[in-house]
Amino acid sequence: MSLIECRKLSRIYNRGAEEIRPLDQLDLRIDAGGFVALMGPSGSGKTTLLNLLAGIDRPTSGELEIGGLSLGDLSRKELADWRSEQVGYVFQLYNLVPVLTAYENVELPLLLHPISSGERHRRVSAALDVVGIADRHSHYPRQLSGGQEQRVAIARAIVTEPTLLLADEPTGDLDRESATAVMELLSRLNKEQGRTVVMVTHDAKTAQYADVLLHLEKGRLIEQEEMAS
């Protein structure tokens, strides 16, 4: 069963007379519970696609359906609510809020949800446990290593129990060891918690964790590869 369906999805920027097409009539289906790696040369439209899937950007034309919901029909506020419920986004540079502790960073998305503070505490602690940062609750981002920061960021992305976990080069800024830890974490979240993961990566080794490889070039899908796992 597919969670995501893109039909003739295009994102076009007009810069004066010039027309830039980071995504060009893309057709794509991603199954629920899948782990997809998006690959392709720089400028091929990977981040653009991820941003559309996250509902932080809007397609110029085409259809984007996620979980049966057509994102193009949602207002800005509805889209924000939808993100808060359905999407966890992991950034290459973590993007933790520097004035908040690890615990508070993870708590931040949950503050948008109507749950009791006890339930919130339970879920934040659980998320930090899952990513293995339980002993760093009161540390600020500047007091954490890059790998630890990324794991806090992943905890923040999963604490709302989103359907869709998106990651843009999540290991791009990490050393091999931290990268492996982060990838194993994402893989576990996919296998054990059933989260659908769509991840952008440049690195073939990182892509090994996925079960589907998508190759983009110039805004088009040029190859789709099922991985044997």
Partner: protein, 409 residues
């Protein structure tokens, strides 16, 4: 995913996104760059202090002039000098003739509410040598009889006693004492002041409900006549008790020989107040212009601060926070800083500015920091916080999220 549809439903019913960021996010952001925080707080403190000073000036002046007009008093002064008591000269006999010709004048324990007075601006010094050089401070010296205390019933002795004629004794208004450097005013008791080569002892301090009298020196009329070598008085002030203003005006026009004009004390001070209105307007305008300048400065510094957080704003929006929620947080941060500055300014205003003697051509009056002025200052601080942050916040938040996420400082 099975749960998706029901969760979507809950989402659209809940309207979860009206939720705001925690206040601690705003307070910690404020403390993110301590130097900026100190500058912001200090800046808003100075601006609010200026607003308070301007408000205190205007209120103090207006209050002094309003408090000085007694609605039962009529001033008789020289025809042609209706604008200024200090320029008026009338015969000393006017008081006696008036008492004999008119009924309905206040009489308290045998003392009539008819007060012949001289109003003179004279240089006043605290030591002989300054006086000899003629470098004293110009202050209003009012030559009075005991009747003055009846006519100006707002004038009361704070301490000491009234001066006796022929003994070089004077009573100082509270503000006059303070503007001469006595703090508190009571310290002036038994000290000497010099006026025109004459040493005069301070025997009393008076208050007058913040009226102009508080900035004056009350000296016995006959002594002042000797000192200033004049027989004529400046005016006669009458407290009516039954008599009407037209009756007194009729008396003034009937006695052509005395060359009198009658003017209600309230009207006299009202026109004085109107005369100084442009100055009050200018003071307020200056404060307004400085305030606007401060808002523009605030816009700049807030913009610089917020721009450096654009990526963070993109992240918060990705998490599901609305632009509205983020704007509120930025406003909280800005208002917090300006409110702290405004409160500091209010403390300074209450403990230092309030009552400060301002010497002015109309006399001395005190800066008056009342609740209205304080409310105005706090409001100015609040507006400073909002106006300085709203536009920069909006400019930073309207960037598309993907673009915001790409921003590197």
């Amino acid at each position: 995913m099975a749960g998706l549809t029901s969760r979507n439903l809950a989402m659209f019913q809940g309207g979860v996104n009206m939720r705001l960021l925690p206040l601690s996010y705003a307070t910690r952001n404020l403390g993110r760059t301590p130097s900026r925080m100190v500058l912001t707080i200090g800046g808003s403190m100075l601006v609010v202090l200026l607003v308070l000073a301007a408000g205190g000036f205007v209120t103090g002046m207006r209050k002094a002039l309003v408090a000085s007009g007694n609605e039962n008093n009529t001033i008789l002064l020289g025809v042609g000098s209706e604008e200024s008591l200090e320029r008026s000269e009338i015969s000393m006999q006017a008081a006696g003739i008036l008492a004999a010709s008119l009924d309905g004048i206040l009489n308290r324990a045998g003392v009539e509410g008819i007060s012949p007075e001289i109003h003179l601006a004279m240089p006043v010094s605290l030591d002989e040598s300054t006086d000899a050089l003629g470098e004293g401070e110009l202050m209003l010296v009012r030559g009075i009889t005991h009747n003055a205390w009846i006519v100006h019933d707002e004038a009361t002795l704070l301490t000491g006693r009234v001066g006796e004629a022929g003994r070089d004794e004077a009573v100082l208004g509270k503000l006059a004492a303070r503007s001469l450097g006595f703090e508190p005013a009571e310290n002036a008791i038994d000290r000497s002041i010099w006026i025109d080569g004459r040493e005069i002892r301070v025997v009393g301090i008076l208050t007058a409900d913040s009226g102009v009298i508080e900035g004056e020196i009350w000296y016995p009329l006959t002594d002042l006549q000797v000192l200033s070598q004049r027989d004529a008085v400046s005016c006669v002030i009458v407290t009516r008790d039954g008599a009407t203003p037209p009756q007194i005006a009729a008396f003034a026009s009937r006695r052509l020989d005395l060359e009198l004009a009658a003017i209600e004390e309230v009207d006299y001070f009202a026109s004085l107040s109107a005369f100084y209105a442009p100055i009050r307007t200018m003071v307020l305008l200056t404060a307004l212009l400085v305030g606007i300048g401060a808002i523009i400065g605030g816009l700049n510094s807030n913009y610089a601060t917020f721009v450096s957080r654009i990526r963070e704003m993109g992240t918060l929006q990705t998490l599901g926070y609305s632009r509205f929620a983020i704007t509120i947080s930025l406003l909280q941060e800005s208002i917090l800083a300006s409110a702290v500055g405004a409160l500091l300014a209010c403390f300074i205003a209450i403990f230092i500015l309030d009552g400060t003697a301002i010497r002015f051509s109309m006399g001395v009056f005190g800066l008056h920091i009342d609740t209205g002025v304080l409310a105005g200052g706090l409001l100015a601080g609040f507006l400073l916080g909002i106006a300085g942050a709203l536009l920069p916040a909006w400019r930073c938040l309207t960037r598309p999220i993907p673009e915001a996420l790409k921003t590197t400082i």
